[in-house]
């Protein structure tokens, strides 16, 4: 393995770790019923993939407390 390969591998692992962290936070938000707004599943999705902005037609589960 070359030094360049090591650098690329390290960068790829860092990206995956950051994505994993965002995914975990999104699941926590889902568990808390925070589907939209700041700190929500929707916000973490945009952090995972900014290209989703302007493309999602959000239709989230209704939280029992909202019924």
């Amino acid at each position: 393995m070359t030094e360049s390969d090591d650098t690329e591998t390290s960068a790829a692992i860092t990206t995956l770790q950051q994505q994993q962290s965002l995914f975990t936070q999104a699941l926590v938000a889902a568990l808390a019923g925070k589907w939209t707004g700041a700190g929500s599943v929707e916000a973490y999705l945009y952090a995972l993939d900014p290209n989703l902005q302007g493309t999602l037609e959000v239709d989230t589960p209704v939280v029992q407390s909202e019924l």
Binding site: M1, D5, T9, A12, I13, T15, L16, Q19, Q20, F23, A26, A30, W35, T36, G37, A38, G39, S40, V41, E42, A43, Y44, L45, Y46, A47, L48, D49, P50, L52, Q53, G54, L56, E57, V58, D59, T60, P61, V62, E66, L67
Partner: protein
């Protein structure tokens, strides 16, 4: 498998998980792709058949209703130009009060009084933030019995919040307050009393947000 192939596979799986999360947010839980069910089976076909329940979706539950200011909110409300260089926060506050019909008569100078001249807002500093970022705006909303909260938000967070409530925000580099009307495509749609300042009119893009931030945001609590 090589390390590179392992990483490539993990990256593909991460994309599928992101797509599954997007399907959740859009209420596509079961059935043909791009459903949550289909994405889970793409990650691991051995999980078939999956059991699932039916969630009640926002589109099926009907309008949640309230609070009154949110029901009244009109994002097309006109934003007049600010009459001085230091009243952008007052213009943004008055726009928010009028757009939500919390106070339909409040103009730029009414908002200056509400914020509190000269301690909280004055010609030297604009909004002074003497009690903390945006606190004077929160107090102004409280005087109407409306709760507001302050946060430093990323573009992703503000974009997600933009259809949930009404917000005012100020970029540290921008040195300018605006109100948020909503979204246009992948951008923020703003009510800007100083159109053209640092190249921004009614649309604030992600690039603008990064260039002009970080952003101090004051949002009404629903």
């Amino acid at each position: 498998m090589t390390v590179a192939e392992d990483l490539s596979l993990l990256s593909q799986q991460q994309s599928i998980m992101t797509a599954a999360l997007a399907a959740m947010a859009q209420g596509r839980w079961t059935g043909e792709p791009p459903s949550v069910e289909a994405h889970i089976l793409a990650l691991n076909p051995a999980l078939a058949p999956l059991e699932s329940v039916n969630y009640l979706l926002t589109s099926e539950a009907g309008p949640a209703g309230g609070p009154e200011w949110w029901d009244n909110f009109d994002p097309d409300t006109v934003m007049p130009r600010q009459s001085t260089s230091w009243t952008c926060s007052a213009c943004s506050l008055s726009w928010c009060l009028r757009a939500t019909q919390i106070d339909t008569a409040c103009d730029e100078w009414c908002a200056v009084d509400k914020i509190g001249r000269p301690d909280q807002i004055n010609p030297t500093w604009g909004l002074t933030n003497i009690d903390g970022p945006g606190q004077a705006l929160i107090v102004a909303f409280e005087s109407y019995g409306v709760e507001a909260e302050q946060a430093w938000l990323s573009f992703n967070q503000m974009y997600a919040l933009a259809t949930e409530t009404v917000s005012l925000m100020s970029g540290s580099v921008w040195n300018h307050w605006v109100a948020v009307r909503g979204r246009v495509g992948a951008d923020l749609w703003i009510a800007n009393s100083g159109p053209g300042w640092m190249g921004v009119n009614d649309i604030l893009t992600r690039a603008d947000y990064e260039r002009l931030g970080p952003f101090n945001c004051v949002s009404l609590v629903r």
